[in-house]
Amino acid sequence: MTMSQRMNALWEYANPKKFLATTERVLPFFWASAALCLVAGLVWGFFFTPDDYRQGSTVKIIYLHVPSALMAINAWMMMLATSLVWLVRRHHVSALAARAAAPVGATMTVIALITGAIWGQPMWGTWWEWDPRLTSFLILFLFYLGYMALWEAIDNPDTAADLTSVLCMVGSVFALLSRYAVNFWNQGLHQGASLSLDKEEHVADVFYFPLLVCIAGFVLLFIALVFYRTGTEIRARRIRALMARERVQA
């Protein structure tokens, strides 16, 4: 296969029927492997890893916190990519996939925030610290909220897809900008504060391998959810079109 043939093969999945048929086939595999990885990773991490000498047993929260935080950002990146595909190639599946991914990403953001807060309570002595990372996740959550609200607010699906795509692009730039602004702002507030959430730096192998399995589980779960929810959105769109045709014929 040449490169362009391969690209054409990829674009075939932009056909809603083809997408539904294919995801129907692969979805059981994704659900099963997601469940397998999540159960294996979480059980491994929860029952069979030692406590950290500084954080005690709270280190076990890492198996939920890091994967969900990772997926919170990846989901937005995926939405950005599919929004661009919609704007350039006008494939409905692409726009609907972005819509389907948003609630998943928002949930991941909430999980990352909640586990972070619960972990922070005994570690920092406070539920909430205006740490740059926590703050930018809160802002990311607000972007998810606005994005989903805009989808819900507009009746015409093509208009909604166009507007949310542009919002996603503009929002990405501003979310990135906020990340740097927040970094700067908090340094400005307390100079030399030495709180660091950067656990990856000192994560030992015993924690690392179950963490990898959990990350794989979250990625697979995300893919399964997005495929499934995109299918739902395609059906919702088809229902809408059929009803409109009926109204015209009546």
Binding site: I139, G146, V166, V170, F174, A181, V182, G188
Partner: protein
């Protein structure tokens, strides 16, 4: 172009055009702050720059839903879209008119309201400078939000939800300039960042605003 600008300004200044509402809102928010946090002058002094920035930002936000809605309702937006003037210029002029009727009065009112909040002496200059540099970005970003929600019936609340996260960087750097200035600290870095955000927003966002406006007008 200047005809459009003059028309927008005249409409805003006319009775019922909403001019002065933002200013009145800014005033009332500032007056309410001591009621809610207490009258200790040391506390007011330390929060004054942030409160004034937030008040100006909210006053800006509140006037956004009128920015395009009136032209949408009476159909003049459709006329403007078919006019020889590119839509990018139209939204830029709309943003400029919004800044002149809302942002500029806020900048001028801020030092007066600063007195009410015990703003420290060196803070006045920095407050005015930071607001002068920052409010154009607020108007341009707000125009983008207004263009996104222009066709919606109850767009006002959605508009706030969409625009507020976009305001975060501007608010952070703008308030940082005012706060550092009031405390007599170095302000160059946040000032440059603020100017950069404004310049980039003014240069690039009109294209996004025009694009979504075209979608909404089709």
């Amino acid at each position: 172009m200047s005809a459009l600008l003059l028309r927008d300004l005249r409409l805003a200044l006319r009775a019922g055009g909403g001019f002065g509402l933002g200013l009145a809102f800014f005033l009332i928010v500032t007056v309410m702050v001591p009621f809610s946090v207490g009258p200790q002058s040391s506390l007011l002094e330390s929060i004054a720059p942030g409160v004034l920035w937030l008040g100006a930002l909210l006053a800006c936000l509140l006037s956004l839903d009128r920015l395009l809605a009136l032209d949408w309702e009476d159909g003049s937006l459709d006329l403007l879209a078919t006019a020889p003037l590119p839509l990018e210029s139209v939204v830029t002029i709309k943003a400029l008119a919004h800044w002149i009727t809302t942002g500029l009065p806020l900048v001028l009112a801020a030092p007066v309201l600063g007195v009410l909040l015990n703003l420290p002496g060196p803070g006045y200059g920095w407050l005015v400078i930071s607001l002068t540099l920052g409010t154009p970005a607020l108007s341009v970003i707000g125009t983008f939000g207004a263009a996104l929600t222009v066709g919606l019936k109850r767009g006002g609340l959605l508009l706030s939800l969409l625009v507020l996260p976009l305001y975060v960087p501007t608010l952070i750097f703008g308030a940082e300039v005012a706060r550092r200035g009031a405390a007599g600290m170095e302000t160059t870095t946040p000032l440059l960042m603020l100017a950069g955000i404004t310049a980039a927003a003014v240069a690039l966002l009109p294209f996004a605003s025009a694009a979504v406006l075209r979608v909404n007008l089709r």
